[in-house]
Chain length 201, copies 2
Amino acid sequence: MAPKYKLTYFNLRARGELSRLVLAAGGVPFEDYRIERPAWAELKPNTPMGQMPLLEVDGQVVCQSGAIARYLARETGLGGKSSWEEAQVDMFVCGVDDLITEFCDAFFAPDEATKEERTKALGPYVTKFLGNYEKLSGSEGHLVGSSLTYADLAFFVGMHDVLKHSAGALEKYPKLAKVVESVKDNKGVAAYIAERPESDI
Amino acid sequence: MAPKYKLTYFNLRARGELSRLVLAAGGVPFEDYRIERPAWAELKPNTPMGQMPLLEVDGQVVCQSGAIARYLARETGLGGKSSWEEAQVDMFVCGVDDLITEFCDAFFAPDEATKEERTKALGPYVTKFLGNYEKLSGSEGHLVGSSLTYADLAFFVGMHDVLKHSAGALEKYPKLAKVVESVKDNKGVAAYIAERPESDI
């Protein structure tokens, strides 16, 4: 019997979206359980590390967004075709995680002045990030190899807010623009995105 | 022929130590290349993402500390015995990475007041961390399963500064104290530690 997956997180992309996209691209049905702060306050003491997202697989629980996404990528065959390819994919995913941390740090800044300062710093950060990724990316619409991996999905997640603020942000990065198109073309991803709730980050 | 490994990083534990320990525990010879800031300034523009640590395997390069450690754990058989065990190991490693981030944020604080504030916050953070890990840990001297994984090594790295500040920090956590002993008992780790240079963090 196919395992039963349940992903629990806030109604945010942030640290949950990559795992949702891996499941969607992998064509794996899952319970996309989104909770608000009061429900989280109740659940938190009974979680492994007091953190979300949480992944339940047939009732067994694991936390930490990176560990969850990597597990799901392995299970869906989106992790890379060899151990070295896995390392490269992992590197790209970690780099996007750094980018998402920058966005989250700006979004959840403790005060307006800090928020403004951090938001301003995002521009140069993104430019450097895109330059590196374009240079490292494969040219066939995939960051690594010649088929979809969760590195492409992670990049797509990372680009959400970048492209929202500046639709032409990838004009100077043809290989990366192609990666985004490859992800959008994936039927599972397209179906998921058509249905997903709106969220701030 | 066995692959040739070179790990390039500052003379710090921080983001490089876990990979060094994985190689040491795995009994894999490697070049432990430690560089100072001027050499790094020169090297930086020619690295994938302008970041260290860097791992070279027979001349091919990958960056991102997590991706490097996971790759080396796979190659040395220290990553977990099944995909689900890998996920659990990964979860523990990510949790330690969060802890190390707290320590690094305090150590590299932009000013003395921030440093003091962040250092003060470490105490409660560590207490919560240890409570979670003790609860989740296996009882055979290993966080996951019944043999050494790089989760144990990561925990050992995370405990370095905790135990330096308070040698009895694990007295109330018998399962975790046993994990530290298991790691110390590993011959490869012991030999590496006997030779490693001192560093602040």
